[in-house]
Symmetry: C2
Subunit: 440 residues, 2 copies
């Protein structure tokens, strides 16, 4: 796996300069990677691609090749794989589609036999490729490279990866794998690799069908890191769409549900929730029940209290010590209760006192901090205070709801760069803090 995720040298079979092609996408992404990695382009019809000399065949390259990426029409893939065997590459990614998912099982099987016989691990075919932001490697045709972080994202859908990394502006990844048809390397192989990967704290998965459900459950059970999973193909039409998409047999969702629960996998329903939950788990410590809410807007405080009730989260009453701490530090807070409304004209000092008071109370195990962009609100200062207090009290998770758009965006960036998740909708913050309780 190491040779795939952090190769010293990569050859791209199917390098291209042609606009709007997969070949161009991968070529660009590979060139933008680490300077220490050697990149070679293979294309018999080209002398130069993006300023780099092109080789006719991979075997023409003098240097050793760790990883070969194949992105050429399906009918030429087998031959390319054979040349990779000859070249003794240490890993292969086949981007090209047109195999099992289009009914061409035989062609895929032949390739599988070749790599298995020669013990060369293979990802794909029919995938977007892989990205390892921690090693500055983008061996995919994703349109952007995500930033480095601690979430490993595995997806049976390549396109979904494009959406997720574009959505996840402030979220970093340790690895991204589009695992395609799982001809050789399977989802479970990656799970086993990420289990001990120091850069990975959370494993997030999009899946349509599991190749071997029982094996997946066994492997998942043995992983102490949180696994967050979304399963597509839950309805008749969805299952049929999944079959034509990845060729997966999607199976019965209720069976999945209970199997996932048994294996300790966190099953989510939407992509939004997948990201929300993953960043919470990647960035914040686990906690027990008992949440404090601080807000400068009464309304969102009321709603957040409602959502906590709905999800069975306790909001402890403020203790005497907390109230007297607040009395000393603040005058204007009308109701010293939980949720704690610091009121619309709260300047950063009032936020600071309120947050610290909450953090000091023993049976408050984590906080949700709400900020609405009122005319007196200094979001950037508030964000800095939160980051500072988080460092002072590292064991208690803090989720933020700076709810707005442009007015809060720089503060949100600062929060998330410091691994404090922000949610623009309180319900999403409440769901996410709940995930820290269930999966301790």
């Amino acid at each position: 796996m190491k040779n795939i995720f952090n190769p010293k040298s990569v050859a791209l079979i199917g390098a291209s300069e042609e606009k709007n092609t997969v070949g161009l996408g991968i070529s660009k992404n590979l060139l933008e990677g680490s300077q220490e990695r050697k990149v070679f382009f293979v294309n018999p019809n080209r002398d130069i691609v993006l300023g780099l000399n092109c080789f006719s065949k991979i075997t023409d390259i003098q240097d050793k090749i760790d990883l070969a990426v194949i992105a050429i029409p399906a009918k030429f893939v087998k031959e390319a794989v054979l040349s990779c065997v000859e070249k003794k590459v240490k890993g292969i990614i086949i981007i090209s589609g047109g195999f099992k998912e289009e009914g061409n099982e035989k062609e895929e099987e032949e390739i599988r036999e070749i790599v298995r016989k020669n013990k060369i691990p293979l990802i794909g075919p029919n995938c977007l490729g892989i990205i390892n932001p921690c090693a500055n490697l983008n061996a995919s045709f994703a349109p952007i490279t995500p930033k480095k972080g601690s979430i490993a994202f595995l997806s049976q859908s390549g396109a979904l990866i494009d959406s997720v990394i574009d959505m996840a502006e402030n979220i970093g990844f340790s690895k991204i794998v589009s695992y395609g048809n799982e001809s050789d390397l399977e989802l479970v192989d990656f799970l086993n690799y990420f289990k001990d990967d120091k850069e990975t704290k959370v494993i997030s998965i999009y899946v349509e069908g599991l190749k071997d459900g029982r094996k997946f459950m066994e492997v998942a059970k043995g992983i102490s890191k949180p696994i967050v999973l979304i399963k597509a193909g839950r309805s008749d039409k969805g299952i049929r769409a999944a079959e034509s998409h990845t060729g997966s047999l999607a199976g019965d969702y209720s069976v999945y549900k209970s199997a996932m629960k048994q294996s300790g996998v966190i099953l989510v329903e939407t992509i939004e929730e997948l990201l929300d939950t993953s960043k919470a788990l990647a960035w914040q410590p686990r906690c027990e029940d008992g949440i404090g809410i601080v807000t400068n807007g009464g309304g969102l405080g009321v709603l957040t209290a409602d959502y906590c009730f709905q999800l069975g989260i306790d909001l402890p009453e403020l203790e005497k010590g907390t109230v007297s701490f607040l009395d000393k530090k603040l005058k204007k807070v009308v109701n010293k209760s939980n949720p704690l409304d610091v009121i619309g004209d709260a300047m950063p000092e009032r936020y600071e006192a309120a947050i610290e008071a909450m953090l000091l109370q023993k049976n408050i195990k984590g906080l949700i901090i709400i900020s609405t962009p009122q005319i007196m609100t200094d979001h950037d200062k508030n964000a800095k205070i939160i980051v500072r207090l988080k460092k002072k009290y590292p064991t208690k998770p803090i989720m933020c709801c700076f709810v707005g758009g442009k007015l809060v965006s720089s503060a949100v960036k600062h929060l998330e760069e410091n691994n404090i998740p922000n949610y623009f909708e309180p319900m999403r913050a409440v769901k996410s803090i709940k995930s820290l309780m269930k999966h301790g």
Copy 2:
């Protein structure tokens, strides 16, 4: 009401230049309004505010005053109201808090008697003010002025308005009202006004407690425009927080639920859903059941099909005519089914043919169009095509899921400027198109 929402002249009692004050906020917002409206500042302690002469008392102003906005400490408010009566203003907004919500019922009651006796309509006290983007009036201390649109937003929480207008970057409003303590004008009075307001297509409401539930239901029943409502204070802690926030008696949520259903009000659970639903209803026509899905990413297509099933939405099979239309126009679409996967390398023409084919099929009553930012995807062109086809087939609603961040933002802007709602999460699009079916 007209004198309040589109006054020819406004006087602000409590104009200020002091940083981080409500007085400064309103002063700025009023000055940024329509040039045809006369704005006067009143403040006995200042000669000039923001370059404008200040009057000691409102009665010192020579011109007639339509609307007086009062933003001074509670103890001076009654006197200011009396001077407004003397000046014969046609409407008053009291921004100042410190009345019923802090236990000072008597003071509020006195003011109410004064305005009622003199037949001057009053908004507040204890509110953010009002905004009428259609008349270029911002008589509030909101930090920004939203753009003009067709959603009237009424909120019992002022701070929530700040969040909502900052979130709603591409969404415009016809009117925004922070109705505060409802001392004189009540929520139902605004409903009655918006019922016939030509600029308002949808009425959106945040409420903690209704002053008179029965009256609200009667009025709501008589309004043919959709009313979308979120109710805060559904749990014990939430109810208590609501009491200390707006002094509302929040009441039993299950009673609310059935009452709202009876009155045809669309009850939503989160602020995100409030905006999602409101923009769908404001921008798109109603439709019957039967939805087509077009996608360039198989995975999101599968998930969207699942969500449709979950919410009981039918995905009609493609008819012979539709398939032959697609056969003529396209080669590469593998599966001519619903969801229709135009595949990752879809250029705009393929999207166009797929969308038009779906729109032409009679039992497909509306579309969800998904776009993931793949390397070949031309979002901006796709958005233009969708806007064009929407104009060609105006009776069928189109919801978009351009799922991503920066890569899709300009396309999303173009879509939403043309009243085609975009959702970054397919479930939110499915929920929103469902709202077009239920409330026909």
